[in-house]
């Protein structure tokens, strides 16, 4: 019972914390962000399983998180505003040669992040980008001129 309750509480706490941390941890992970993800994961595990290291206890925690995950995904599909709260909405970072500086600052995105995404599309110049969009998963989509 304790494991199930702890897993459920921590699932929602992590959902909020990761959402507030921004989108970068979900995509375009640098070593800096790897540290964050592993650290948060390690700390959470201790609080969920406590001093019971049995397989049955771990199974309870895993199934609880799996059920919650499906329930939240299903709720997001039915209630669009919940989807926006949990995942956010795509955001324009660059529009026809103009940076959206306020959005970039709020989302802690730099020019180099956009350029990095552009290079993966074979684009070598920022001027060749028509739109750069920060997606809900943290990736940056590039639409060429």
């Amino acid at each position: 019972m304790t494991t199930v309750a702890h897993a459920a509480i921590l699932y929602f706490i992590l959902l909020v914390v990761v959402r507030v941390l921004g989108r970068r941890p979900g995509s375009q992970m640098t070593p800096f962000e790897f540290v964050l993800i592993f650290f948060i994961g390690g700390i959470s595990i201790q609080a969920v399983v406590g001093d019971d290291h049995s397989i049955s206890n771990a199974l309870c925690a895993i199934i609880t998180v799996a059920i919650l995950h499906v329930a939240v995904a299903s709720a997001k599909q039915r209630i669009p505003v919940l989807g926006r709260i949990i995942d956010g909405t795509p955001l324009l970072l660059l529009e026809r040669g103009t940076w959206k500086r306020r959005t970039m600052a709020k989302m802690r995105i730099q020019d180099v992040d956009v350029m990095e995404a552009a290079r993966t599309r074979g684009i070598s110049d920022l001027g060749a980008i028509k739109y750069a969009i920060l997606e809900r998963n943290g990736g940056i989509s590039i639409i060429q001129e």
Binding site: V16, I85, G88, T89, P90, L91, L92, R96, Y131, I133
Partner: protein, 177 residues
């Protein structure tokens, strides 16, 4: 959603050419919520550093002294569920203890706070109607005695205690989940 439903412009477009679905009104509201959440996070950190959430800060420790000054009990005001909790008896090094030292603990509080053992073990333990008295010989009163506990429940619990003939004290201990 219906199978065979025709595709329509359900995702908002930018400049009427790229379907992005950006919702800046929602985003502005979210940024306000985000700022509020950062304030909450900072408050949690401040509470943690000051000891309001347990162990380590100035607010986390409480003291209870024997009326004759022979001993002070140091206890944790804030404990954590399922986590070892220590209660330390500091004997006054100035006073040479001539008599056995008695520590009484209420049965209900010993059960709720999950009393496990005393280090060193008492020379004797005497049960009464509502608690237990641990007796430490005079010869052992030159170091600290540590009582180990592990709360099995959470909430505002009470440590009922009496030392060296003092009145029974009711010390509140908050056990966080």
């Amino acid at each position: 959603m219906i199978d065979g439903e025709k595709v329509s412009d359900t995702v908002g477009k930018v400049n009427d050419e790229v379907a992005v679905g950006e919702d800046l009104r929602f985003q502005e509201r979210w940024w306000i919520v985000e700022r509020a959440l950062w304030v909450v996070f900072l408050l949690v950190i401040a509470a943690g550093v000051s000891g309001i959430l347990g162990r380590g800060g100035v607010f986390s420790r409480g003291y209870f002294a024997a009326p004759d000054g022979s001993c002070t009990v140091e206890y944790e005001r804030v404990a954590h569920f399922g986590t070892p909790l220590r209660l330390i008896l500091h004997f006054n090094p100035a006073g040479q203890q001539q008599h056995d030292f008695a520590l009484w603990m209420g049965r209900e509080s010993a059960r709720e706070l999950g009393f496990q053992r005393s280090i060193p073990a008492p020379a004797n333990a005497v049960l009464d109607d509502d608690g237990e008295t641990l007796l430490f010989p005079a010869a052992e009163q030159h170091g600290d005695v540590v009582l180990m506990m592990q709360p099995a429940t959470f909430g505002r619990l009470h440590l009922q205690l009496a030392i060296a003939g003092s009145e029974r004290a009711d010390l509140p201990i908050i056990v966080l989940p």
